[in-house]
Symmetry: C2
């Protein structure tokens, strides 16, 4: 049981489910914004909601789009191209999976904080 390098009972705190595409702060911010606005948001709205620069926003949207977690559509409004982003069904599913691992981090972390600093059992929090 302890030989495998993948997550077993021995790698109790590895949190493999913290999908790196989603976990990065700017992308977590973007996905949460889009999740709460399922009909989509304009580029400028996302920029404001997530406090990102144009360059960073473009870079992270590309990563999310390539992972098929969001869809990006462009429309010509007069002489300007407007970009609209939406979370996909896959994006919702992956976010939900991610969230369940995040909840485990909070259970572990908050459990240990609540127990105070006098404990030191070999088993993890919430035993």
């Amino acid at each position: 049981m302890r030989k495998a390098k993948t997550t077993t009972s021995s790698s109790r705190f590895a949190y493999d489910g913290l999908n790196r595409v989603i976990h990065e702060r700017a992308r977590l911010s973007l996905l949460t914004s889009l999740l709460t606005h399922p009909k989509g948001l304009w580029f400028g709205e996302l920029k404001d909601l997530c406090a990102l620069t144009d360059g960073n926003l473009n870079r992270h949207l590309l990563v999310l789009e390539e992972a098929k977690l969001i869809s990006v559509t462009k429309a010509l409004e007069g002489s300007r191209t407007q970009t609209r982003c939406r979370i996909t069904a896959l994006g919702r599913r992956r976010y939900l999976e991610y969230l369940s691992v995040l909840e485990q981090v909070i259970v572990d972390g908050a459990g240990a904080l609540n127990r105070g600093s006098d404990a030191d059992e070999g088993s993890p929090a919430n035993a």
Copy 2:
């Protein structure tokens, strides 16, 4: 109110409090392990609990030590150097602050997931 690029009511989903030193997955894993074992863990124990290689573990421990979130002590046991790591008081405080932002992400994300995909109000989840 909407001019500033820093977090204001307009950058509702920026989650500025997601401290980058802590948020990185391996370091979040390490800090949670150390938080649940306040008397410290040996290098080998951390490696197993977090499913990290020697190189990655060393690299991330250095980042956490430089941020004063953990303390690292070395002891000679026979001919081998043993490394022991502990979370510092500052580390506990920073982790607690981080956790409160993480809880907000979950409230936002889970709130939106629970509402389903038919809503699209301009205001964020849990309105």
